[in-house]
């Protein structure tokens, strides 16, 4: 299935969990937060959360900014 991660479409096995998707894209585990289709998924729910087909995932972290 295709999933959009930080604006880029990528291919993942059906039924992938959020944790597996984050591992595959090499996302950091600390200091980041994740939204799936515009809803925050708490860190504790990453391993149990199955990503739906065509999902839009945003992985954010803090950077320098006013």
């Amino acid at each position: 299935m295709e999933i959009k991660v930080n604006g880029q479409w990528r291919e993942f096995p059906d039924g992938s969990t959020l944790s597996e998707v984050l591992d595959a894209v090499g996302a950091l585990r600390q200091g980041v937060a994740v939204a799936v289709n515009g809803e925050v998924v708490r860190r504790g729910d990453w391993t149990a959360s199955v990503v739906p087909k065509g999902a839009n995932i945003d992985v954010l972290t803090a950077v320098q900014g006013g």
Binding site: N6, L28, V40, D58, T61, A62, V63, Q64
Partner: protein, 250 residues
């Protein structure tokens, strides 16, 4: 100086620094240390696989508290989601709410800002609201439950100083939450004026991070904020049209 209290947080410094614009982390570190700040803004952006910018590690090492902002958001919905992501990523309820109307002015969108403030307060955030220098809107944001209102002195990054000091005084006169002058500070005298007008604190970034010598300017801003605070508390003399001799008459 007395402690600055915002929400349930207490700070001995009244200077809040933004991390945007610094040439590199070494320059930023020296400036932050010189400023004496205890609260510093960060922005939320998409994480790339190479990892973060290192700013989080730096702020943790310096023991400076994080104030994530919602810079770059155009709507209340975007700002609320960004704040929720910041809370999850950084484990803080503090948020500097900013909703920009357009890229050219970066002025706050008052309608979206007020709506986002109401939703974030309802969701348990301690909201620092970036706002126009509009006394009516500042009061509305306070009524919505914001912990601090942050009127601009001038548009972000312009260094034009405080363009409407009377509006800042009006905001201060009616506010019962801390007023933080945010944006537009160009040099130390601007920060002093903000405090003399009765602001509780000053938030600035460009004036320090893009100064020729950021560390020295940070030090100047620290002194400027303290000087303005002391002068406000001391009570200035009334302004007079004609001279008044300061020596006794013969």
């Amino acid at each position: 100086m007395d402690d600055l209290i915002i929400g349930s947080q207490k700070f001995s410094s009244r200077l809040i620094i933004g991390t945007g614009g610094a040439a590199n982390l070494d320059v930023l570190e020296r400036a932050l240390v010189a400023s004496g700040t205890e609260l510093t803004t960060v922005a939320m952006r998409r994480a790339d696989a190479e990892g973060g910018s290192g700013v989080l590690e730096l702020l943790r090492r310096l023991g400076i508290q994080l104030l994530p902002n919602t810079a770059g958001c155009r709507t209340a919905a975007e700002a609320v989601l960004t704040a929720q992501l910041a809370r999850e990523a950084l484990d803080t309820d503090l948020v500097k709410l900013e909703v920009h109307a357009d890229d050219r002015t970066l002025l706050p969108d008052p309608v979206e800002t007020l709506e986002a403030a109401e939703r974030l307060v309802g969701d348990g955030f301690t909201v620092f609201a970036y706002t126009n220098d509009d006394p009516v809107l500042a009061l509305r944001l306070e009524e919505a439950g914001c912990a601090a209102v942050m009127p601009l002195g001038a548009p972000i990054g312009t260094g034009l100083g405080i363009r409407n000091p009377h509006n800042i005084e009006l905001i201060v006169a009616r506010a019962s939450v801390p007023v933080v002058l945010d944006a537009g500070i160009g040099t130390a005298s601007d920060a002093t004026l903000a405090m003399e007008l009765g602001c509780s604190a000053v938030l600035l970034s460009t004036a320090v991070t893009r100064a020729t010598d950021p560390e020295r300017m940070a030090s100047a801003m620290r002194s400027a904020v303290e000087a303005g605070y002391l002068a406000r508390g001391a009570g200035r003399v009334p302004q007079r049209f004609w001279a008044q001799a300061s020596s006794p008459p013969r």
